[in-house]
Symmetry: C2
DNA sequence: ACCTGAACACCGTTCAAGT
DNA sequence: ACCTGAACACCGTTCAAGT
């Protein structure tokens, strides 16, 4: 195919032509490999063997580029998760999908908590909202319930992204949590009794389980809503 | 006092000597007046009539400075709120205090969701945790409950900060929400039925009330926890 | 001990010029 | 229509030199 095309190409562009997709793809690779600070237009131009102006032809600015990369990752999560399970399970699956995506691409977390009205967020909001309807949450409470869940997911997203930024590259999670727990334990117990008390639990806990426990707590709260007349 | 001191000052420094407090104070003024992007070391040196090196003598780097400013604002909120009300009311007061602080200083929201293990977060965590104990939440559930509440607050913090960044300076909130709602309504109803449906509610809702509704939802969830054997 | 400010090594973004 | 890359106007941070 490719060999044939070399002869008769006419309206076809060279296969490596720039496009927003190719730029986004390259940006994701850089972000995953070396983190947020490594994504510069200079790094992009080098990787794509082009000039900075070429990138600006396809992308408005860096914010636009970051929104596009985040959107890309979240869209993939949402299509993977779309299948029809029981609503409560579906919500947990959506939440875990986002959680795992941020675990795999920590920069997504930072971006999500920075640009909440962007398309990525809309997709999460839509998925969660749809499941709440399926769950039979009364209409007047759907918006607030979806917001609570999404805000919670957003909060954890930012937190996990920050952790990943602090983590000195591939440190294992338990070692990191032990460090934070030790720092917590150092605070004056008189001034920070609660922090002091839960410091041990911190080093033992499983981030992912804890995240899910929070989702379940909110779902339990939603379960207490009076179905009312609607 | 000051006049007298001018004669016999010895170990005293000139009253306008630099200090971390003075730098933090100036940073907060810049952030409040012109937003995150306005806080540069050059702007700081101009305002403080000094050199960049002088600032670095008191502050490790820009991250350190931002953490200190956030810590300052949150500390003020926590001492204002500390009074002993009923636990559930106290938690609502803490949450609203943080919410209002971010409303007044949007950059705090961005920073909170960026540096969750910092001192500012610890203070919120401690306050919330203490109230959960007073509420009689069983010990095994305290950590997860506090985390859920704090993560939720964190998520809203980031969202509000982002909104403030989008807001073209002192636009009123309802006008802004109407714009977002209009954008939501533009999406294909077939693809985004839920978003489409709640778009109207979005433009009518009160951010602050909605925030509190989420807190109440989580508190309701916490209320369903089996007290167990402790 | 604390401060000065020039210098360094970067950024994102623009734009005249090319194809 | 799409791409090139030099140039611009910034950054945060360092450091020799001053007091």
């Amino acid at each position: 195919m490719v060999l044939m095309a070399t002869k008769t190409q006419r309206t076809e562009r060279r296969t490596d032509a720039l496009s927003k997709e190719r730029i986004v793809e390259a940006a994701i690779e850089i972000l995953d490999a070396d983190g947020e600070s490594a994504l510069t237009f200079r790094a992009l131009t080098t990787r794509l063997a082009t000039g900075s102006g070429a990138i600006y032809w396809h992308v408005a600015n860096k914010n636009d580029l970051l929104a596009a990369t985040t959107n890309d990752v979240i869209a993939r999560v949402m299509t993977d998760v779309a299948s029809g399970a029981e609503p409560r399970e579906a919500i947990r699956a959506i939440a875990l999908g986002v959680f795992d995506a941020i675990d795999a691409h920590p920069w997504v977390g930072a971006q999500l908590s920075r640009e909440p009205w962007q398309s990525a967020m809309l997709q999460i909001f839509e998925s969660v909202g749809g499941q709440l309807q399926a769950l039979g949450v009364p209409e007047r409470a759907q918006f607030a319930s979806a917001s609570a869940l999404v805000n919670y997911i957003l909060g954890v997203a930012g937190q996990n992204a920050a952790n990943a930024r602090l983590l000195p590259r591939e440190t294992d999670r338990t070692a990191f949590l032990a460090t934070v727990a030790a720092r917590w334990a150092q605070h004056d117990p008189a001034e920070y009794p609660f922090v002091h008390q839960v410091a041990t639990q911190l080093s033992e806990h499983d981030d992912r389980e804890q995240f899910l426990a929070g989702i379940d707590l909110i779902l339990a709260g939603i379960g207490t809503i009076d179905p009312g007349s609607s």
